[in-house]
Amino acid sequence: MDEAAFRDLYARTARQLWGYLARSTASDTLADDLLQETYFRMIRSGFKPESDDHARNFLFKVATNLVRDHFRSAKNATLPLEHSPAVDGPGRHVRLRQDVHRVFQQLKPRERELLWLGHVEQFSHKEIAQILGLKAGSIRLLLFRARRKLADMMNEAGLGPEVLQ
């Protein structure tokens, strides 16, 4: 891969990858660092993407492993809570987004990863299983549980479906 191809790939994938990292780690700074490390590893490995999907799968898998490695060490075991979404747009929408964000951050990292990959990135169950290193057959149930937990937490926080309309 040459520099121009890398820049193209970066432009197509970096925002989504950063979003995933920021939600998984709950830290913008850490997301920046891990984003760079993810691309470092991609370049170093000599990875040649066959398609955008192929590249996305590879990048999200590397990023997931980096997040795991980061939190595996005891000194990084606790999650920082510095991340909050950019405050822009109409007031109600911003408040709603911040409320949803707060609820989302209360989920376990694995649940956040599952929901993000399944709903925001719209990966298939098979792809999610590959990225997270889980069995494909278990994804449906895990997603179901994570969705139920998020919905229950949203309801408890007064963010039921009628509020999100």
């Binding site: 520099e3 890398f6 820049r7 970066y10 432009a11 970096a14 925002r15 989504q16 950063w18 979003g19 939600r23 920046d32 984003l35 760079q36 691309y39 470092f40 370049i43 170093r44 979404p85 950019a86 709603l96 987004r97 949803v100 964000h101 609820v103 989302f104 929901l115 993000w116 709903h119 925001v120 719209q122 449906r140 149930l141 179901f144 994570a146 969705r147 139920r148 998020l150 919905a151 949203m154 963010l159 039921g160 479906p161 999100l164």
Partner: protein
């Protein structure tokens, strides 16, 4: 409302993403907890995803590319020089070992020469020094040995 997984979750999710939720699907969602949760979670996550930063605020790809290249080059150099480093350390260890063997072999000669030299020197200086010839030799030998060990350690630490 049922709390278990529902077969229509995927269908309702697909329709919601395309903005084509039919009345029948909406009706189903009001009676199915699983589908209701799916819709709620999807809406919440799309709201959450709406706050992604622009590309300009993310780390510069040129810098990432450059650093990755730098890192790769450094690793290449380290890989290329690894055999040299191994040989260097091996040679150093052999040298140290050879020196130690040599010293034990020539030690009696060295000691007699040094004793002679020291006694000549002591005869020439006033008799006020507290140490005898052998003690001085021992101190001198220990210093050399310490310097040698320190030198080997420095080499090892730098490598």
């Amino acid at each position: 409302m049922k709390r278990s997984s529902c077969d229509r979750e995927a269908q309702i999710l697909e329709a919601a993403r395309q903005g084509a939720l039919s009345d029948s699907l909406l009706q189903h969602a009001t009676t199915c907890q699983a589908c209701s949760n799916t819709l709620a979670a999807d809406k919440a996550l799309r709201l959450e995803a709406g706050s992604l930063p622009s590309l300009d605020t993310l780390p510069d790809p040129t810098l990432i590319w450059w650093r990755a290249r730098q890192r790769a080059q450094l690793q290449q150099v380290q890989r290329a020089t690894l055999p040299i480093q191994i040989v260097e350390r091996f040679a150093l260890a052999c040298g140290g070992f050879g020196l130690a063997i040599g010293l034990t072999k020539v030690w009696p000669t060295l000691r007699s020469v040094a004793d002679r030299w020291i006694s000549n020197w002591l005869a020439a200086v006033p008799q006020s020094l507290p140490l005898e010839g052998s003690a001085l030799l021992l101190a001198f030998g220990s210093t050399i040995l310490l310097l040698l060990v320190f030198g080997l350690y420095s080499q090892w630490a730098e490598g």
